[in-house]
């Protein structure tokens, strides 16, 4: 057998999908930072996390990632996309880029993706659930209802999430996320 007929195959790259996920993670990261200054539920979730708590959400093996930490005032701070070799108290990783695309194109909700083992959680599961709750709130703010319904387990009722709160915070989050 001529073994040269069967060369080794190095993995290629899916650049467009990678950039799409990176942009989505950047927007979500910035939005969490903004929401932590505006929305009382997000503020409450973060206040219950330990001091100096940091977590990453990203795609295995090489990212992109979204790193969020608590600053000195206990508010969320977007800390970039490059994780390097740093280990965080909570790491939520999506198993593959294709799985990430399913999540970030809202073909699969976060809860569904967890149930289908698309995620690997390394850290305290209680903190991970707090992060998932925050992500759900952010999705409600960032996306129109018709898309958010695909992404979250249950869209909040009017009594839980008044339209006034939603629209005012939505505008402020967008302004803050894309400006400073």
């Amino acid at each position: 057998m001529n073994i040269d007929k069967y060369p080794e195959l190095k993995p290629g790259k899916k650049y467009i999908k990678r950039y799409y996920v990176a942009i989505m993670l950047w927007i979500v990261g910035r939005a969490i930072q903004a929401a932590c200054r505006l929305d009382k539920e997000v503020i409450k979730e973060f206040s219950e996390l330990p001091e100096k708590f940091t977590f990453s959400l990203g795609v295995l093996p090489d990212g992109p990632f979204m790193i969020i930490g608590k600053d000195d005032k206990g508010r969320a701070k977007y800390m970039g996309w490059n994780k390097g070799r740093t280990r965080f108290p909570l790491e939520m990783n999506i198993k593959s880029l294709e799985a990430a695309i399913k999540v970030f194109t809202f073909q699969e909700g976060t809860a569904t993706a967890f149930a289908r083992e698309r995620f690997i959680v390394d850290g305290d599961l209680g903190y991970a659930l707090a992060v998932v709750r925050v992500l759900n709130i952010i999705e409600v703010y960032l996306l129109p209802k018709i898309i958010t319904k695909l992404a979250v387990k249950r869209y909040p009722r009017w009594s839980e999430f008044s339209p006034l709160r939603k629209w005012v915070n939505r505008i402020l989050i967008y302004i803050r996320a894309f400006t400073f």
Partner: protein, 387 residues
């Protein structure tokens, strides 16, 4: 459900199934500390476009495919396995992925025995439970028309049989992009092997609740989805369900003694070269009828799996076994275009039929005599050409 005093059941495999299942392989390889698999595939894989899909699934991972050997023919050959050993070592591979139909799986299992155990002659490992240490990580990605053993604890290399729990694949990946039916004839044959294995596993004297969970589910999947696949071979949902049935039946088969239709089907395949799926499909109704005639365990739970709850509930208890046989015949009749109704259509000379019965008796795994096997074969030979 019958409660047995003792039974054992084992299944090693993890199953990745459904949308984008292939993309999970790199992370699963990591969990076995493997980053450089050797991929072994049957010849049809490249032509069918499966190779391209498979290789793309490794994009954006840190797994390098050490080599993609896509030249496995109709059977697993020891010469190919020995050549692949050179490729495996030359490229520094640490795991094996089998892609395609049965021969690729058998070749991969043979190679795994060679490279993991360091033996020169794998035929020294022939038989049952001759392997005593775990082998290298072994993943399988079956395509439509797999032979039913792929996901089991068995390998057949040049008609030599190897059976060990260490031969179970570590991970089985059933992705709808790979299980789409390209050749409906082959898909029917593989479904027939799975049906034979599942029916004989659920019907054997060794049946137990664990095995029932697999075998009855496989029977249900085949009865529900084979007619759908026959009607529209491009139906991806039905094709994936048949792949699930294959996987389920393989586990049931691994944990039960081989039944009469399987033993005779394998013997005829060995002697005549006819597809084992075709032989088993012809023999299964006659083997089942023979068992019922001899009052050897035939269970009414089968009807529940075959026809569903309504049909099961509306059939009187005493008629369920007969109805179960009718359901089986009905399914076979729907596949008549691909599976002949009797052995006569295969033009097998009588001396080979006798030899098959003799070999089946010699295998001794089902406790039937030469006369019993000949009765089944003669009934299958005399059956009308139209069901």
């Amino acid at each position: 459900m019958q409660k047995k005093a003792f039974y054992s059941f084992f299944n090693q495999s993890k199953y990745l199934a459904g949308a984008r299942a292939l993309e999970h392989i790199p992370i699963e390889l990591h969990s076995y500390d493997a980053v450089r698999p050797l991929v072994i595939a049957t010849k049809d894989v490249t032509a069918s476009g499966f190779k391209k899909i498979f290789v793309k699934a490794f994009y954006d991972s840190d797994v390098t495919i050490g080599g993609f050997y896509d030249n496995v023919g109709g059977t697993a050959a020891i010469s190919t396995i020995k050549e692949l050993r050179i490729l495996f070592h030359d490229r520094g591979c640490d795991s094996i992925i089998a892609l395609g139909r049965g021969p690729a799986m058998d070749t991969a299992k043979g190679l795994n025995m060679l490279v993991s155990l360091g033996v020169d002659d794998i035929f020294t490992l022939e038989g049952e439970d001759t392997i005593s240490t775990p082998l290298k990580p072994f993943f399988t990605v079956p395509t439509a028309g797999s032979c039913g053993y792929d996901m089991s604890n068995m390998a057949v290399i040049e008609h030599h049989r190897f059976k060990s729990d260490f031969l179970f694949p570590d991970v089985v990946c059933l992705d709808p992009r790979m299980t789409g039916i390209k050749d409906i004839g082959r898909a029917v044959e593989s479904a027939m092997v799975a049906l034979t294995h599942a029916m004989e596993a659920s019907d054997s004297t060794m049946h137990n609740p664990m095995n029932d969970a697999y075998s009855l589910a496989a029977i249900q999947f085949i009865h529900e989805n084979l007619p759908r696949a026959l009607k529209c071979p491009r139906n991806r949902e039905a094709a994936l369900a048949l792949a699930y049935a294959n996987a389920l039946a393989a586990v049931a088969f691994s944990n039960a003694p081989a039944g009469a239709a399987h033993i005779l089907g394998e013997a005829l395949n060995k002697l005549t070269g006819n597809d084992p799926g075709v032989c088993m499909a012809i023999l299964l109704p006659h083997a089942t009828e023979f068992m019922v005639g001899k009052d050897i365990l035939m269970r009414d739970e089968l009807l529940l799996a075959q026809a569903g709850m309504d049909a099961h509930a509306s059939t009187p208890e005493k008629d369920r076994i007969k109805e179960s046989e009718n359901q089986l015949k009905k399914l076979m009749a729907s596949a008549i275009k691909y599976v002949p109704a009797n052995l006569k259509s295969l033009r097998i000379p009588p001396y080979l039929i006798e030899q098959a019965a003799r070999e089946a008796e010699a295998s001794g795994s089902h406790g039937l005599t030469f006369k019993d096997y000949m009765t089944i074969l003669n009934n299958a030979g005399k059956a009308p050409a139209v069901r």
